[in-house]
Amino acid sequence: MLTWYQWLILGLVPPLILSLYFLKLRRVPVEVPSTYLWTKTVEDMHVNSIWQRLRNNLLLWLQLLVVLILMIACLRPGCTGEKLPGDRFIFLIDKSASMSATDTETGISRLEDAKNQIYTLIDRMKSNDAAMVITFSDTEGVDQSYTKNKAILKRKVKSIKPTQQGSNINRALIAATGLANPGRTSDKLSNTDVQVADALAATMFIFSDGAIKNVSKYAPGELTTIYQPVGAVRPVSNIGITTFSVNDQVDTGGSIEAFVRLQNSGFEPKTVGVSLFIGDQLTDADTVTVPGREISEDKLTLGANGRLADIDQSPPGGLSLKFDLTSVAAVLESAAPIRFKIDEPDDYVLDNEAYCVLNPARPTNILVVTDYNPALKLASSTDRLKKIANIEFAEREFLKEKEFKTNAALGVYDLVIFDQCSPETMPACNTVFFADLPPGDEWKFTKDLEITPIIYTNNSHPVMFDVQMQSVSILNGQLIEGPKGNTSLVESIDGPVVAIGPRSGFEDIVIGFPMILYEEDGNTPYNTDWHKKPSFPFFMQNVIRTLGSGSRFNSLRPNRPGDSVKIKPRYPYEEIDVKNPKGGRQFLKQQPNKSFVYNEADETGIYSVTEKGSKEVDQLFAVNLLDRLESDIAVRDELKLGYEAIKGNVSREPARKDFWTFLAFLALAALTAEWIIYNRRVFI
């Protein structure tokens, strides 16, 4: 700021300019033929009032304007900006679903608010400062590597689009810390540890609402981390759907239920209307009150920046709802989309709708071909399975009958279990073979086994879910070699004894050992003690659920936005057409394993799959956010990164953002205008 005498001097300038206007100018003498006309002209203009002269003198006003602007510039007008420590910056921006919440002061989304804050930071960067932009949701991406070009940085920040995905900061942190702390490498020969590059100190700004998955390991090294919480200071009420599923009939004994859980991230209970649509038809509606957070706001402590420090100590309130859809499903002819909706809009609308697919309640047809296998019979005819499947038993002779051949070719069966037998041609359905091979040369027994221990069970496959085979003893068996693309399910010390392999849209399981031995003398001793273990009924239940229901349960698999969706159509189409909720289409070609991979499921909603060129919907699948963390839109006061808890930034050093340069520029413009007016003789 200026001192009083400097102000005095500055204040004297305008009167000085004014007085100069009344002084005689030093004029250039020019000889003219006669001043007669000039004198008359000037006399006309000089009806010599001083004020008239001043009023018409644009140049004077411009000069006074220039001085005025300069005086204002000397006052150093400005606003509070942010002082950026250091010279290298990383802007880590959360673009997960919760960043779409509009609980900011201005009502814009959190992401937009974060972008605005970053623009200010970019403006405050010195000309030699470099910065980079990393965004993260479920995945991370380096949107812009280090650059000093502020225009590029702003453009990149501006181009960040919100996603409908969850938040996983882990890999983004690895990318950021990796750039600030280059790794070390070891030269094995010389046994020395070499630093590959110098670590460069940088400051990382994390713009997030703090709703991120746990970070297990975080070693910032040279990286200074600053967390900028974005969003409302107090958690606003948001009712979100965190679970929406249609249950498996097997678990509920035949009834079909939709299960919904609502979550309230505010402190006060909130009453909302909810609706359930099947297709476009409103099927059920209700008004429910969702309780608020478990611990009330006044019992929580406040952080340094006014936010609630321990918001996670008070989990959001929840309410579960159940809708019985058995009767609705019974009359369905094809799979139908179900939409569950919260009627009242709130600050975060992405979790106000959830989708699911309801399949028609059709019992599965299963044929078990066996002469004598009480264990198989027992395990396939439990009450639970009976409710969802029509299970027929037949002897091996039945395979030669015309009825079987016709039914098998027409696809009447969903699953056929062959116990120590094999048909002439494979039926148009999934199959399970006990101690026999499907016709053809794709499947082979490679080696006979005697008393072999089982060392591995592939529990990641749905058929082997919860099936533990390690304690099962097998007397005689054979090693299996399956067709291309087969998956080993159970392995002995020598190799696979149970495997599953694809067959043009169907799947075949081959088990390399019999349950019962048919001896020549008519005895039927057990070849294994598997039937005595709980793993056998589990296995049978999994087989019937997974293979017997065909694609019915495919649609029940939860897909999240951004996931790769594996699509297995009912028939082995070569190309399919996937239509997203907005109507966009994408054609997919069959993968070598007869399935399709769809990578564009970025939005929540119902996606439909048809054969290319056909109008008949093959199947539907739903993509849902359903993320408790994202739906709890309370902004966290601190970010837990590894063992480090980073407090939300409040200690921004207030720095001035001056406008004097702008004013000086304005004064220059006024001066230029004056010069043009003076020289060009435009109207004065």
């Binding site: 004029r27 250039v28 000889e31 033929p33 006669s34 001043t35 000039w38 003789r681």
Partner: protein
């Protein structure tokens, strides 16, 4: 001191009357709206009856009449003496007055040079038609050395006189015209070439001329710099005649105002002239003399 639009050097070196212009002028004739009495026979009909071959009228003989003009055939038939009257062919006084004030030294070519060219051109037309041509400077002197010229052969004298004519010290226009009127009593056509830039006014001077019952043509010469001045900045304008000073700060508004003043000045002069039977023509030095004579002055009836 800078001078507004100093004359180009070569404009002074150009011949006063080019051969092409002379050829054009030979076909022209000065026209007087009034018929004046000349002193010598010229090539135009006079109001006076005279001795030409063209018969005019008869009148009764009175004692003292020239017996040569008595129509004897008539006397034989009627026994009365009649005198035959013939149209007299007379010459014409053609005066040209050139303003020689220093203000005429401006422009490109200078207004003075332009005036001399114009005077020369008009004078040559008069010479070709055997009129009595006299070109005088408005210098206010009692004894003019301007020759009175007749006949085409006097062209060289005319040119010589014009070339010797110089812009002289300032005498007011009224004084100069008064002196001219005292010196010259003949009637005829008078062409006054001036820029009218006389602070004491031009009206009095024109009134003197009107009183002489002359056929007056006023040619108002202005330079382009006076019509559309190209000046900038804060200036002290110095009058070349009386060193009067006008201080101006040039602006678009001022220039516009000046043009308005000039327009009203011209309008005033035109109005004053037409009220008194003076034919007024305004011209710029940019307009060529042959164009002025062959087109504008022909339109106004001075030549045909």
């Amino acid at each position: 001191m800078a001078k507004l639009a100093p004359p180009k050097k070569n404009s002074q070196d150009e011949p006063l009357l080019s051969p092409a212009l002379l050829a054009q002028l030979e076909r022209m004739e000065l026209v007087s709206r009034k018929i004046f009495r000349g002193r010598m026979k010229g090539e135009r009909r006079s109001k006076r009856k005279g001795q030409s071959v063209e018969f005019a009228d008869f009148r009764n003989y009175v004692a003292g009449d020239d017996l040569r003009f008595i129509d004897w055939n008539m006397y034989a038939r009627l026994d009365k003496l009649f005198l035959k009257l013939f149209m007299e062919e007379e010459d014409l006084h053609f005066y040209t007055l050139i303003d020689v004030s220093p203000s005429m030294q401006f422009g490109n070519p200078t207004k003075f040079q332009y005036a001399k060219q114009l005077a020369g051109a008009l004078g040559y037309i008069g010479l070709c038609r055997a009129d009595r041509v006299k070109i005088e400077a408005l210098d206010g002197s009692r004894n003019s050395n301007a020759p009175t010229l007749r006949g085409r052969s006097s062209l060289w004298q005319l040119v010589d006189h014009l070339e010797r004519m110089e812009s002289q010290s300032t005498v007011s226009m009224t004084e100069a015209v008064k002196a001219f009127c005292l010196r010259n009593t003949g009637k005829g056509i008078l062409v006054l070439i001036t820029d009218l830039m006389d602070k004491s006014g031009y009206e009095e001077a024109l009134k003197y001329l009107v009183a002489r019952d002359l056929d007056i043509y006023l040619i108002h010469v202005l330079s382009q710099e006076e019509i559309d001045p190209d000046i900038n900045g804060d200036l002290k304008l110095v009058d070349c005649e009386d060193q009067d000073i006008a201080e101006i700060s040039v602006s678009k508004r001022l220039i516009d105002r000046y043009k308005q003043t000039l327009a009203s000045f011209i309008e005033q002069a035109r109005d004053f002239s037409s009220r008194r039977g003076i034919v007024y023509t305004m011209t710029s030095t940019e307009r060529s003399v042959d164009r002025l004579v062959s087109r504008y002055l022909r339109q106004r009836g001075l030549v045909r």
